[in-house]
């Protein structure tokens, strides 16, 4: 289970990335955030964004038309 969840269903990139970026600013190092998306572009964009900013990707999972992307906040 992730510490936090963020609903980005129906949002198209780069909005899910922007929402993730803004949410992560409120979190502490080590927290995990699960972003729930529908735009397949998020599978590339959220991990790319995480790499650039030093956060780590925990998992990406497709389940019943939804995409669950879990990131762990880095230092």
């Amino acid at each position: 289970m992730s510490d936090y969840q963020l609903d980005c269903q129906r949002l198209l990139c780069p909005l899910p990335v922007i929402r993730t970026q803004n949410k992560v600013k409120e979190l502490a190092v080590g927290d995990t955030l699960c972003v729930v998306c529908t735009d397949p572009g998020t599978k590339n964009d959220i991990p790319a964004w995480a790499r650039i900013h030093g956060h780590s990707l925990v998992s990406i999972e497709d389940k019943e038309d939804l995409i669950y992307i879990v990131v762990r906040v880095g230092a």
């Binding site: 990139c13 780069p14 909005l15 922007i18 572009g41 964009d45 650039i52």
Partner: protein, 351 residues
């Protein structure tokens, strides 16, 4: 101890901003990127929606560029603020609904705000990939100082690719940046950029044709103008401008428009809007999802919309097609219609 000077770069995802960053990084300066999402950016969207883009890698160019450059990228949602830029551009529009000069002034102005609020972390100037003479109107020798002045950036705005053709800026004067190592590119010829890209070992880069956003697109612009005319108001919400990127748009009457998906990917995307917009699809044949923007005032309107939707499904040659109409707060209706023949759809219905 001398203070480390840092730059914030406007990153569009194209080659020029990528090169501008490299040139400044070469001088030992730390750079971070900033990218603005106006709602009209070509990035991602349609790629994610339409089927035939499936095999193309769905990457966000600005993020990809940032990763290649090894810089952080801040993506800023400016959808609301951008409305004023698009609706009231002081310097007017380009060939279509693109207010490029005002847009540049706005974005550099936002970067100035960013520098002010991150000054304590060492940020004190802005770089862009602009090249004199590259784009009509927004990248002319005459407009470069207008952007610097009206954005409030003045001499903290440095254009590394054409700096030698422009007056000295603060980072050059103060010696943070060596002017001799900057460039003097100008005009539409892309050869110097390509050569510089090679020099830096950059082979894979996006080359956006025309512009960085949908507002430079003629068809998109005419759909936007049609929307404003139909609503008697020059305004828009994010959903409006997203929907303009999707499907065929047909306007059988001034008070309503039918948005018909062009493939399964678009149908799925439009499905997400069924709680907000009246929607139609065929229950007797395979066919596209369609939405209604506006009002179906009379029964005739309903029949016309249904016949249009039937025309684009597999029942197009059938005698009769069953169509289900769902109103967001008023349940569903089932209709049986004869599909419109394609020649029966007037050319002027296509927005």
């Amino acid at each position: 101890m001398t203070r480390q000077h840092k730059a914030i770069a406007l990153i569009s995802g194209g080659l020029d901003s990528m090169l501008a960053v490299r040139v400044i990084q070469e001088q030992g300066i730390e750079v971070e990127g900033i990218n603005f999402f106006t709602g009209f950016c070509v990035e991602g969207h349609t790629h994610a929606i339409r089927n035939h883009h499936k095999d193309k890698e769905k990457r966000n160019n600005a993020l990809w560029v940032a990763e290649q450059l090894g810089i952080k990228l801040h993506i800023v949602d400016v959808i609301e603020e951008y409305k004023d830029v698009l609706l009231n551009p002081k310097h007017g529009y380009g060939a279509n609904m693109n207010p490029c000069l005002d847009c540049k002034i706005f974005m550099v102005g936002k970067a100035v705000e960013w520098v002010k609020s991150n000054h304590q972390d060492g940020f004190d100037f802005i770089i862009t990939g602009e090249v004199i003479g590259q784009r009509p109107k927004s990248q002319l020798k005459r407009t470069m100082p207008i952007i610097a002045r009206e954005s409030g950036a003045d001499d903290i705005l440095l254009r590394p690719l054409c700096a030698k053709n422009l007056p000295e800026t603060l980072p050059e004067r103060e010696g943070w940046v060596d002017r001799a190592k900057l460039h003097d590119f100008h005009g539409r010829n892309r050869k110097p950029q390509i050569a510089l890209a090679r020099h830096y070992g950059l082979n894979d880069f996006a080359t956006p044709a025309g512009g960085c956003c949908f507002l430079t697109d003629e068809k998109y612009s005419s759909k936007l103008v049609d929307l404003w005319q139909a609503r008697h108001s020059r305004d828009y919400e994010l959903d409006d401008i997203m929907l303009l990127k999707v499907g065929r748009h047909l306007r059988p009457a001034p008070h309503f428009k039918v948005i018909v998906a062009r493939d399964a990917g678009e149908s799925k995307f439009l499905e997400g809007y069924r709680k907000q917009y009246p929607s139609l699809y065929s229950t007797s044949h395979n066919g596209p999802m369609a939405l209604i923007d506006g009002q179906l005032k009379h029964h005739d309107d309903v029949e016309t919309a249904a016949a249009v939707v039937a025309r684009f499904g597999q029942g197009r040659t059938a005698e009769q097609v069953e169509i289900e109409l769902t109103l967001p707060d008023n349940g569903t209706q089932n209709l049986v219609v004869s599909p419109l023949a394609s020649e029966a759809i007037p050319e002027e219905w296509y927005v």
